[in-house]
């Protein structure tokens, strides 16, 4: 009986009507071709451009770039920044994951919310917040005055600043992946180690840590990739300080519009892409060999009791969390209420005129809000439909074609944003060589690029959703006489919706606040929120950029609140059986 379910996961009978069968094959073939064109072709064109000069094959681009000493200093800075920030991310991630998973500290749910906060806020807004915190007349200076000795000033526009903000923005990745692994380690295996005579420290070193390694490693690699391809932080902090990393260097090549801008940019992109893919590959290798823990149940009960030091640990943790997630945002909010940058924050200085400028006066900002909302809404709706459809087939009828498709769909997201954006230009400027329908230069390129980049987010969310619904639930509906329309409407959609929604929310948020891709693909009249905030900041209008960013933060928090309420109401109704 196991065989029948294993070999034939698909629940729909193979209706052996031969005509239908070929139709299915044709549709599947078409879908595969579409996937290849949308997700693979741009990458191919990017690579192709880097290995030709004047239309014929040549490695001259690479030799020129690799002989340029500037390339090597950019590479050096990139590696230094990525290694430094990843070290911070991994350390913070593991410490928090272990504390939340293992000890008996209180308020873990709220704590988790604060840990994830820097992750859901776009990194350029986090950067802006940190610069306001450490800026002239900022909260940091005020706090530093309270100390009897001098703390010195902090300049974020430096290597150290970039490393610091990157590391603090991406430790939630390590935290999230480590904590689920920590919780899945059966406490029996630790008890077995203690009974066999190992001390609690030896148990941690020889049992817990090796078992948690897959989670820590994959979290670490994700943080590595995030630090490598991040654009917002080095753009906001590095460009003013003339510190270049690969992602901002590529950006500057393209916006600099030199004679060989695209060739240089594509060559650098391939180099950056190779480094990123090497990271992904290394992670895949490591996870393939590592032994997975077979339990799927997360054990959320405390295993390590802090006793007397509990209160102290809690105070330290909360101070850290408030200081790193909430206080910078407050500092940014304060700047946004000031009439001019650097003015003291006092009651009679407070005004909402910056908000008025963003929402009413500035046509650019208004246009950007319109564009970004439109982009996010359309991409979310299309993503939910196509992503869920794909996820359904991927889970219910797994085969090597849709497995391959999933990998292909995830490529544009795995690639650094600047590289991805560049590949979009090459693919859609002239979709058929020699024919330029004007996609690049209009808002259309942004729609295509966002769809290509963010579809995988919805696919992942929907796959989780479909996996949660046992296939016998569908079979029960079918045996009860429902056709597939009724089955979807009455059984599948209600059951899938909560998880699909959180996937959709992620897509919506990411698309709404996107900066990297749009900073390369925008044109006048097709600005996005991220591009406009970046523009304000570069032009020195910090009060406007902080006001705009504060609006986004308020919107994100509101969205989370709504999502939370929806899921809470749903869970109360359904009260999950599993």
């Amino acid at each position: 009986m196991q065989i029948s379910t294993k070999e034939n996961r698909g629940i729909m009978p193979k209706r052996a009507l031969s005509s239908l069968f070929t139709w299915q094959k044709i549709l599947m073939g078409l879908a595969l071709v579409m996937i290849a064109i949308i997700f693979l072709l741009p990458i191919y064109r990017l690579i192709a451009l880097s290995i030709q000069v004047d239309g014929s094959f040549s490695l001259a681009n690479y030799t020129t770039i690799l002989q340029d000493s500037k390339t090597w200093s950019v590479m050096g800075d990139t590696i230094l920044i990525v290694l430094g920030s990843t070290t911070i991310s991994v350390t913070l991630g593991i410490v928090f994951a272990w504390l939340v998973a293992y000890t008996d500290i209180r308020g873990k749910r709220l704590m988790q919310l604060f840990i994830i906060l820097p992750f859901v806020i776009p990194s350029y807004i986090t950067t802006l917040a940190w610069t306001q915190f450490f800026g002239a007349n900022g909260l940091y200076e005020k706090l530093a005055e309270l100390f009897p000795f001098s703390l010195g000033s902090v300049n974020l526009y430096s290597m150290g600043g970039i490393i610091f903000v990157l590391g603090f923005s991406h430790y939630p990745l390590v935290y999230l992946l480590s904590i689920s692994v920590f919780r899945k380690i059966p406490r029996e295996v630790e008890h077995a180690s203690r009974v066999s005579g190992a001390s609690s420290w030896q148990t941690f070193r020889r049992v817990t840590l090796p078992l948690a390694l897959p989670g820590i490693a994959s979290g670490g690699f994700l943080a590595f990739l995030a630090n490598l391809d991040n654009f917002g932080i080095p753009a906001f902090l590095g460009i003013p300080a003339k510190i270049d990393v690969l992602s901002t260097y590529i950006y500057q090549q393209v916006v600099g519009f030199g004679p060989t801008a695209f060739e240089r940019a594509s060559t650098l992109s391939v180099l950056l892409g190779v480094i990123a893919l090497m990271g992904t590959f290394l992670q895949w290798l490591l996870l393939r060999k590592s032994k997975r823990i077979e339990t799927t149940v997360e054990d959320e009960k405390a295993r390590f009791f802090l006793r007397k030091s509990k209160v102290i640990v809690e105070i330290i943790l909360w101070s850290f969390l408030l200081l790193t997630s909430l206080v910078p945002l407050l500092a940014m909010g304060m700047t946004s209420l000031l009439p001019a940058y650097g003015v003291d924050f006092t009651w009679d200085h407070i005004s909402l005129k910056n908000y008025q400028f963003v929402l009413e006066t500035s046509p650019k900002a208004k246009r950007a809000i319109g564009n970004s909302v439109q982009l996010a809404v359309v991409i979310t709706i299309i993503g939910v439909m196509i992503g869920t459809m794909f996820a359904y087939f991927r889970v219910r009828k797994p085969n090597r074609w849709n497995q391959l498709s999933e990998i292909v769909i995830s490529l544009p997201y795995a690639l650094p944003g600047t590289v991805m954006a560049l590949s979009m230009i090459f693919a859609w400027m002239e979709p058929i060589p020699g024919w330029n329908p004007g996609i690049y230069g209009s808002v259309l390129i942004l729609f295509i690029a966002y769809f290509t980049r963010f579809l995988i987010l919805q696919v992942r969310g929907s796959i989780t959703a479909v996996l949660q619904v046992d296939y016998t639930m569908e079979e029960a509906a079918i045996v009860s006489g429902s056709n597939s329309w009724v089955k979807w409407r009455k059984i599948l959609l209600p059951l899938l919706l909560p998880s699909i929604l959180s996937g959709a929310f992620l897509v919506f948020l990411t698309a709404l606040t996107e900066l990297t891709v749009s900073s390369l693909l925008w044109s006048s009249n097709s600005e996005t929120i991220g591009v406009v905030i970046f523009g304000f900041e570069q032009a020195g209008y910090t009060t406007y950029s902080t006001a705009f960013s504060s609006l986004i933060i308020i919107f994100i928090l509101l969205g989370f609140f709504l999502l939370y309420i929806t899921q809470f109401l749903w869970n109360r109704k359904v009260a999950r059986t599993r």
């Binding site: 009986m1 065989i3 016998t472 045996v479 009860s480 006489g481 009724v486 009260a575």
Partner: protein
């Protein structure tokens, strides 16, 4: 209405799950499909439901051929109901909504039920004794109650054929016993034709009118529970259903001589001709007795290898001619581990034996 399965085969790429299955079921029969896991019984059930299509052969429900290698009628167009091993309750619907669902969508619901949907729901809830639970969500129900909702959902539209896929295997032992009699009374009440898949031989023996014993994708025997138990026709059935010990030897007329002890002659106690043909003498644990001394020359020497006290009886494993046998005896005069003993066929078994065995023909 009958269900007819003819030369049914199912292959999954290179694996042959079912091979040349033939049987038919009369209206109102309770049929158990019994076999170890991997024997193809669930595949057979899913073919009948329409979740799979046959590689070879045909399935007929009533006068409609619902499945053959070229055309398979999808499950929602078959007049069936199904109970799943995992219950497959929908977490977002309450008990009453579970029963209403098939009443709204099942294609074979009679006009009478359609017009009196409320009444039918009430009736079904009464049958499964869940009247006071109609607004409960699945998560608020116990295992047994969930099982009853699953049963109610399946019987609500009065399907011609009710398929049950190991419906009790997710319940604990005590509840399983309770649900057995509930399913039996449900069968009496509804008079539905039931096809019940299980790997538990006591479940099949206790509930079914007839049992289809399956192994390795093939049918071993189809018979009433008593016939299957007392007159197994294949070594597999003897071992799987009756837990019988098998002695290999020669049959001459109605006398059996084990290969390894030519001095012994055992009489026919109603052994099936097929078993005789294969040279087997199947004997169940409770048909044997152990003695400390060799009381007759028909006794076989053995050594006790394990002892299990079961309360009202003792279970012994003994080593007989290089094979492990099981024997169940009363509590009196226990034996020790490693003790040299002799085993014999019980007197009453020998006395009740009828060389011309009874055989119910269906």
């Amino acid at each position: 209405m009958t269900i007819k399965v003819q030369r049914l085969s199912k292959r999954f790429s290179s694996f042959e799950a079912l091979r040349h299955i033939d049987f038919s079921i009369e209206k109102g029969e309770f049929i158990a499909i019994l076999g170890p896991s991997g024997c193809g019984k669930t595949t057979l059930l899913r073919l009948l439901a329409g979740f799979l299509s046959p590689t070879e052969g045909t399935i007929t429900i009533g006068d409609q051929e619902v499945g053959n290698p070229t055309k398979t009628l999808p499950p929602e167009k078959r007049n069936i109901g199904m109970v799943f091993q995992s219950f497959a309750l929908w977490p977002h619907l309450n008990v009453a909504e579970h029963i209403r669902f098939p009443l709204q969508h099942h294609r074979f619901v009679s006009e009478e039920i359609k017009q009196n949907q409320k009444k039918r729901m009430g009736d079904v809830l009464k049958i499964v004794e869940l009247e006071s639970f109609r607004t409960r969500m699945p998560s608020e129900l116990s295992g047994g109650q969930k099982q009853r909702v699953a049963l109610a959902r399946a019987i609500a539209p009065k399907p011609e054929l009710l398929l049950m896929d190991e419906p009790l295997s997710n319940l604990d032992a005590e509840l399983r016993m309770e649900m057995r009699s509930e399913i039996q009374s449900l069968h009496r009440l509804t008079n539905a034709t039931i096809l019940y898949v299980t790997h538990d031989q006591s479940e099949a023996l206790a509930m079914a009118d007839r049992i289809i014993v399956m192994n390795n994708g093939q049918i071993e025997q189809i018979d009433t529970p008593t016939e299957i138990y007392h007159h197994p026709r294949t070594p597999f059935v003897a071992k799987f259903v009756g837990k019988a010990n098998l002695m290999k030897g020669k049959w001459t007329k109605d006398c059996f001589t084990p290969d390894l002890i030519p001095s012994i002659q055992w009489p026919d106690i109603g052994i099936e001709p097929d078993m005789k043909q294969l040279g087997y003498y199947p004997i169940r644990p409770e048909q044997l007795i152990l003695t400390k001394e060799q009381s007759s020359n028909q006794a076989v020497p053995a050594v006790i290898t394990s002892i299990q006290f079961q309360g009202k009886e003792m279970h012994y494993n003994v080593q007989v001619l290089g094979e492990e046998w099981q024997i169940q005896t009363g509590l009196g005069d226990p034996f020790d581990l490693g003790e040299q003993v002799f085993l014999e066929i019980k007197q009453e078994v020998l006395l009740s034996s009828t060389p011309t065995h009874m055989h119910y023909v269906y």
